[in-house]
């Protein structure tokens, strides 16, 4: 059946409004980043984009932030997800306390967390390493509320008890049950939780800045103080980069096969 014109117009107007809401700021950033900023430039120029690679600390900070995000991701996959599954499956009495614990970082302002952990990181930078990658520790705590909520919702949506028991009677051990059956079943929740986590890690500023670590956002802020056009160009580039990353992640099945490995 053909949709009526009214419905179509309504649909397209919603899409246009939302599209404009999302795209106009991006265009504005692009516009700003291609404005002339030196005496020698006229009209449009891509100089701000061209000099991105030569910015001090920028490339290394991007690499560091990506590594940190990867570490946080693997902590989610191999620590938080199995723990959440275990609590849901075997320790139902611990569900409330565990949930409360995971929501705690949301209730504590970032600045309070920084003050609390500053001595720890001072010790780490004196005795172990000064690498900003160590921030993955505090980040994996910060992301808990978001990751846990999406995991918990996904776990509640399926009857994981029956699935786990079915797998066990067929001969699966605990690690296979968790990694081969339950994780693929709740993969949407895991992916959602991980994206939120990556976004948070790539965008975090307060903690790294106060602790004096040169992460991506800190370096962008630094560049912004000397050259606005370059800072905006870098920001736009990072947004596009994440967008491409999102599109590159396969949305169709087969997550299961990758995760279906025997760990024990």
């Amino acid at each position: 059946m053909k949709k009526s014109w009214g419905v179509r117009i309504w649909r397209w107007s919603i899409i246009s409004v939302v599209g404009a809401y999302l795209m106009v700021p991006l265009y504005a950033m692009f516009d700003f980043s291609t404005k002339p900023f030196g005496f020698q430039d006229k009209g449009r120029t891509f100089r701000a984009w061209q000099i991105i690679p030569s910015q001090p600390d920028l490339m290394i900070s991007i690499a560091r932030s990506l590594i940190t995000a990867a570490i946080v991701m693997s902590l989610i996959l191999f620590l938080i997800v199995p723990t959440a599954i275990w609590v849901h499956l075997k320790l139902p009495l611990l569900r409330r306390p565990f949930e409360l614990l995971c929501l705690l970082p949301l209730a504590i302002p970032a600045i309070v967390i920084v003050v609390g952990i500053a001595p720890l990181y001072r010790w780490i930078s004196i005795h172990l390493t000064e690498s900003p990658i160590t921030l993955s520790g505090v980040y994996s705590m910060l992301i808990l509320p978001y990751t846990y909520r999406s995991l918990s919702a996904a776990l509640d949506a399926v009857d994981i008890h029956t699935l786990a028991e079915a797998a066990r009677t067929l001969g699966a051990n605990t690690s296979r049950v968790i990694f081969g059956i339950i994780m693929p079943t709740i993969k949407t929740g895991i992916i959602n939780g991980s994206f939120i986590a990556i976004a948070l890690v790539m965008g975090e500023f307060t903690i790294s800045n106060i602790l004096n670590y040169k992460t991506f956002q800190v370096v962008i802020a630094q560049i912004g103080r000397t050259n606005g056009n370059v800072a905006v160009a870098v920001s736009l580039a990072s947004i596009l980069f994440v967008l491409i990353l999102l599109l590159a992640i396969p949305t169709k099945k087969r997550q299961g096969k990758v995760l279906d490995v025997d760990l024990v």
């Binding site: 079915a166 066990r168 009677t169 001969g171 693929p184």
Partner: protein, 349 residues
Amino acid sequence: MSSSTYVQLVDLAKYFGKVRALDGLSLDIAQGELVALLGPSGCGKTTALRALAGLQELDRGQLIVDGKDVTFQNANKRGMGMVFQAYSLFPHMTARENVEYGLKLKAHKTAGDKRKARSAELLDLVGLSTHANHYPHQLSGGQQQRVALARALAISPKVLLLDEPLSALDAKVRTQLREEIRRIQMELGTTTLFVTHDQEEALSIADRVGVMRNGQLEQIAAPSELYDRPKTSFVAEFVGLTNPISGKVSGGSIEILGSVVKTLPGSVTSGTGIALVRPESLDVVANNSGNGKVAAASFLGASCRLNITMNDGTKVTAQLPSLDAAGIGAGASVSVSLLDMPVFVKAAG
């Protein structure tokens, strides 16, 4: 232990706080037999099944399968195929992948080609070979349970455990699937324990039916014997319908509705007792000077059910072939007598 005993549940006990889910349950199952455990909810039948699967720890007792003590063996090493009440297919796998899952694991490792052949064979057995590449969400409830059955059978289980697999399905599919379960079970000769609260289901497909109550087995017998010769009043009242009619017991007989019939073993032996009479054990004929009046009549197709108020105020239900009940409607005067079948008599009061 008889030579053909394959599965033995010995004196199983499981307490959840004060609730006695299993309280000294013992049960022997012969090889290739289909035993159904029947009982009201909370009687411990599912606990018994889960204990045999290894999904429920026991407080006491012993489980022996094929001569081996499996009481403390892990569920993933027991080789039991189980079909659950709730839909339990792995949602990220197709029907075929679900069936093959057990064969990929260490316990039942099978080479790729054989695995494919086996899953195809089983999907064919449950009549779903055309749905092999469907995901669970693309299958109906009945189809999902068929795949679950194929998955459980794929590992050639020592015992097939069915935990109310039909209770989530609608009536028509349920009847169809239970007959299919029986056909497949007979075809493969798989020893099967079937748990249900639906007596029709249990009576229609099991070799033997065990009636459970408060964590114990009240009686286990072939369906017809269970129905015709109950050993306790609980079994008599739980399986099928009964009319409680009081009468005088003496010398192994009871006098009710003007006839004397034999009492079953386990009945009250003297004094006043209440006979538990099956609706089809009552003979009803139209008679203007009869001993009762029809309060309501319902036509059930091949048979007819009559609710009759006796002259002394007792209400009974009779069921007789529709042909015999022709012309007997609500308000008709009838005479009710007893067919000569032994009845179970429980103590009065």
